[in-house]
């Protein structure tokens, strides 16, 4: 039986093929299309999702975002980890 994925700093999350992250021209915002659901990620969530390429580790994501937002890693880390675990639990991202 499958196991729940628990994210670690070395996990490399990926948005799976059947979850579409795309820009909606009509509404002028990014949207996530998934089985039977539609999500409108806020700016911070969007930045995280864009890094879910299966190559970037959670640790590298936190470093990247800390630099981008000029914020300490300790501030960024809980938000990023919580978001990724939540999206992984909803099966909207996968962990490699």
């Amino acid at each position: 039986m499958q196991q729940r994925a628990i994210l670690t700093p070395s996990s490399k999350p990926i948005v799976p093929k059947h979850v579409h992250l795309q820009f909606d021209n009509l509404r002028g915002k990014w949207v996530v299309l998934a089985p039977e659901s539609v999500f409108w990620p806020d700016e911070q969530s969007l930045e995280i999702l864009k890094l879910c390429d299966g190559k970037t580790s959670v640790k590298a994501m936190i470093e990247h975002l800390a630099k981008q937002y000029a914020a300490p890693k300790s501030v960024i880390e809980p938000d990023v980890t919580e978001f990724l675990q939540e999206w992984s639990d909803k099966l909207l991202i996968r962990v490699i």
């Binding site: 039986m1 499958q2 196991q3 729940r4 994925a5 799976p16 093929k17 059947h18 579409h20 795309q22 909606d24 009509l26 509404r27 949207v31 299309l33 998934a34 089985p35 039977e36 539609v38 992984s88 639990d89 909803k90 099966l91």
Partner: protein, 364 residues
């Protein structure tokens, strides 16, 4: 009031034809024959208009959508417009070969219904021989085609005790989602209420089982639970509000806010055969009738929950009270709530039943 924004999704009921005869089918009791269905060109035109209007997801349903041989064209077109496609199938007449073709056309997700977790229940409810085995095969082909799978389990008296088995089945099949969807009593299900209504004890057991599985299967299987209205405390936010997020196009092109809307006799729905989808979405009197909050009466009007549930379901209000403007009797604040509970108890304890199976009437 007119639409405040574009719809997010379209539910295309491509046909009312279906090999199954489930007595709770969400299609209207007056089923349309194939001769009244939109043809390929007309459906493609509907999808083009829907894409222009701003829809993001297309749910291809029926009846059984795979009886349409032009399904491939529709998926290919929708995919080319960046629209997420969801096939809602009974899974008894879909070969692995065709499923792979559909996947190659850009299909994103498949929902397969299971009438029972046991073969004999599936066969009893769908009135289709060996249906269960075929459904299992379809579900497995969905997974081997690399597509995400939802198992849809409509729940009623005859399968409510199979809920744990439905959960096991979904996990074994590698499904991402399981819908434990207690039957909604409109249309066919309304006709079969006495044969389908579970009793309150079974409902309570089911709630405990589902809640515990939702916790233990976190990150493995998403379980969506649609509670049984007749035993609910509050109504569901039906369709995310009347003509708010989703539009439904019936096989003959009639545009509806939900599956059951045509049960409300006073409403006259428009058709894509006569008007553009844009005109209908914006200006249809029937779609505008219960949009937003202005139409509401008390107790809904001053209730803060109206933002959550939009007053519940208009079709249920109409079916139970004879007035579509009434508060959905599923709500405990509704003056009709007690009556609904009593009805449920009466139906649940009526041991004499015979299914009124879903069949197309033989008339002109």
């Amino acid at each position: 009031m007119p639409a405040s924004g574009p719809p997010i999704g379209i539910l295309a009921e491509l046909t009312h034809r279906c090999p199954l005869q489930c007595p709770y089918c969400s299609n209207p009791a007056d089923l349309l024959k194939s001769s009244s269905e939109l043809n390929s060109k007309e459906w493609l035109n509907v999808f083009e208009q829907a894409a222009d209007l701003g829809i993001l997801q297309a749910h291809l349903s029926g009846g059984e959508p795979t009886v349409r041989r032009d399904l491939e064209q529709f998926i290919e077109y929708l995919d080319s417009r960046g629209i997420y496609t969801n096939l809602i199938t009974a899974g008894v007449n879909l070969s692995e070969k065709r499923l792979n073709v559909l996947a190659n056309c850009g299909l994103d997700h498949v929902q397969v219904s299971f009438q029972g977790a046991r073969p004999e229940t599936t066969e009893l409810i769908g009135a289709y021989k060996n249906g269960h085995q075929k459904k299992l095969a379809t579900a497995m082909s969905v997974r081997s085609a690399g597509l995400p799978l939802t198992i849809n389990a409509p729940i009623h008296r005859h399968n409510i005790d199979e809920v744990p088995e439905f959960i096991d089945l979904a996990v074994e099949l590698g499904a991402e989602r399981l819908e434990i969807a207690n039957v909604q009593y409109y249309g066919w299900a309304y006709l079969n209420r006495a044969a389908l209504m579970p009793d309150i004890e079974a409902v309570h057991r089911q709630v405990d089982i589902v809640e515990s599985a939702q916790a233990s299967l976190k990150g493995i299987l998403n379980i969506d639970f649609v509670v049984p209205d007749y035993y609910a405390d509050y109504p569901k936010p039906c369709m995310g509000g009347w003509a708010n997020d989703v539009l439904i196009v019936a096989p003959d092109g009639t545009v509806l806010p939900c599956h059951a809307a045509q049960t409300i006799d006073a409403l006259d729905f428009d058709s894509v055969r006569k008007q553009s989808l844009q005109q209908i979405w914006q200006h249809s009197a029937a779609l505008n009738k219960y949009r937003g909050f202005d139409w509401m009466e008390e107790p809904c009007r001053s209730c803060p929950r109206k933002e959550l549930d939009f007053g519940g379901c208009r079709c249920q209000a109409y079916a139970i009270t004879g007035r579509a403007e009434a508060t959905d009797p599923a709500c405990m604040i509704s003056p009709d709530h007690k009556g609904l509970e009593q009805l449920a108890t009466e139906f649940a304890h009526n041991p004499n039943f015979e299914f009124n199976y879903r069949r197309i009437k033989t008339r002109g």
